[in-house]
């Protein structure tokens, strides 16, 4: 797992936040992960993912035993391909920065070669099970809002059936390969789903926030914060993001009515807060536009700072010294949501922004 960090949290205009949340139909499955975002038919579920943002993999399976799945693979193109071997490799970037010279032009990646490599691997797999393999690659074209993508569509038959697309995006400099895979008899279903999936797929966010959406958790996090850890369990989802010594943690519990039979929402916040919130003041607050809940603001104590220091692997001094956390119940979905931020300066606005972006259910109840 790689953890990268950058500086500064950038406030986001509210309009952008609202628009990005309302562009999907509620019944569809929305997936957001490491800047990759797409929709699929209802009840499809994320079954495999990687934590890295530079290169990674996502797999989303259809419900039941149909065997259809959507796969997305991405990799940052061009950069970091040359390993540091000579003194020139070390000094050149610094000299360029000093004399304000532009970065050397990286040639666009060879999409066809990349795709052929992938299809060759699939062909090898098919030949192992003594099946014929045929693939079709369509010619490259430019697409996207400002022609930022160079893309090529492909399809294959053999062992299974698949339809997909490969592209390179100039904005995020990623090569993305996305495909819908199924069995031989699924050709119609593959075509229908591929058009929705590939049409909705985007590899970067146009705002300063990335959408993170899996299962019923749907939240927007500043791009500067990188995914540090995750917990995906039945009934409990947790995503933790780090940026230097600062942290954002988003958590969701299912079966809220059962939890709230034994605990009050204040007790549950205190018990699950990242820092020790023993007897901290917890007050009622409007956590987001839809629900009222409770929130607490505290100073981070030394013991918790050490815990945070360990997570940040000691690269991020000074550590966060202010904690703000809020929790609310979404009665429509019977779920409890918690957003926590640990920042260097007192910044409850960040917590409120993240909490506001959390789309726990459709409609409004407050």
């Amino acid at each position: 797992m790689s953890i990268s960090s950058s500086l500064g949290t950038i406030p986001r205009p509210r309009k952008q936040m609202e628009s990005s949340v309302t562009t999907i139909q509620q019944s569809d499955t929305l997936i957001g992960w490491q800047g990759i975002r797409f929709t699929l038919p209802p009840d499809w579920n994320l079954t495999s993912f990687s934590l890295e943002s530079e290169s990674g993999y996502l797999r989303v399976d259809s419900p039941g035993d149909s065997g259809l799945c959507a796969q997305v693979r991405w990799q940052t193109a061009g950069r970091n391909t040359r390993k540091i071997r000579t003194m020139y490799d070390i000094l050149a970037p610094h000299a360029r920065k000093l004399f304000r010279r532009p970065e050397p032009v990286v040639p666009p990646p060879d999409l066809k070669a990349t795709l052929e490599k992938i299809l060759k691997a699939s062909k090898k797999e098919a030949s192992k099970s003594k099946m014929t393999f045929e693939s079709v690659i369509k010619s490259e074209r430019t697409e996207g809002v400002a022609g930022e993508r160079t893309a090529a569509s492909f399809s294959f038959v053999g062992g299974g059936r698949g339809q997909g697309k490969i592209w390179h995006c100039k904005v995020c400099n990623r090569i993305v390969v996305a495909q819908i895979v199924g069995t031989q008899k699924d050709s119609r279903a593959i075509q229908a789903i591929a058009s929705q999936f590939l049409g909705s797929l985007s590899c970067h966010s146009s705002t300063e926030y990335d959408l993170w959406a899996l299962y019923d958790l749907n939240v927007e996090i500043p791009k500067t914060f990188k995914l540090n850890s995750q917990k995906v369990m039945s009934g409990n989802l947790q995503l933790s993001f780090m940026h230097g010594g600062e942290m954002i943690r988003v958590e969701r519990w299912g079966l809220a009515t059962m939890v709230l039979k034994k605990f009050t929402i204040e007790e549950w916040l205190r018990a699950n807060a990242y820092i020790n919130a023993g007897k901290a003041l917890v007050q009622e607050s409007a956590c987001n536009e839809k629900h009222a809940g409770v929130e607490s603001q505290l100073k981070v104590k030394l013991f918790d700072k050490i815990k945070l220091f360990k997570l940040a692997r000691g690269f991020a001094l000074p550590m966060a010294s202010h904690y703000a956390g809020c929790m609310w119940l979404c009665p429509e979905e019977q779920k409890l949501f918690m957003v926590e931020v640990l920042t260097r300066k007192k910044n409850p606005e960040l917590m409120h922004k993240v909490a506001s972006s959390c789309n726990c259910h459709s409609g409004s109840s407050l």
Binding site: D43, N45, Y215, D216, S234, G254, L255, M258, E333, Q334
Partner: protein, 114 residues
């Protein structure tokens, strides 16, 4: 997913006021001379009690042989607002546990003459 879970008929069920269920599982008869002798001297329990929580009780009530595993998953998901995957994972895990302890069994409805 077309299998139908059904209770072990030896288990008796007690329902609490809040709808939660207590299972009474009869203990196996003691074998061996020493155990029998000990059972006469000390009163050994004749049954085990297992208390199920709200969701467990809900699933137990559905395991009456009339519902398929698929329909149990759907009903759990609908009742507790879980998405499909969450309901599937939690229900099948719970049922695996019940099967290991011989509390339930699965049967498949076959067509006449099939």
């Amino acid at each position: 997913m077309l299998l139908r879970p059904v209770h072990n008929s030896l288990i008796t069920v007690e329902e609490k006021e809040d709808g939660e269920i207590i299972l009474h599982i009869p203990m196996k008869e003691k074998v061996g001379f020493l155990t029998k002798l000990l059972a006469k001297c000390v009163q050994l329990p004749t049954e085990k009690r297992v208390e199920l929580d709200e969701v467990g009780s809900f699933v137990w009530k559905l395991c009456d042989g009339s519902n398929t595993l698929e329909s149990v998953v759907q009903k759990v998901g609908r009742e507790y607002k879980m998405n499909r995957r969450e309901a599937e994972v939690s229900t099948t895990t719970f049922m695996e546990m019940l099967i290991q302890r011989n509390f339930i069994a699965f049967y498949k409805k076959t067509r006449k003459g099939g």
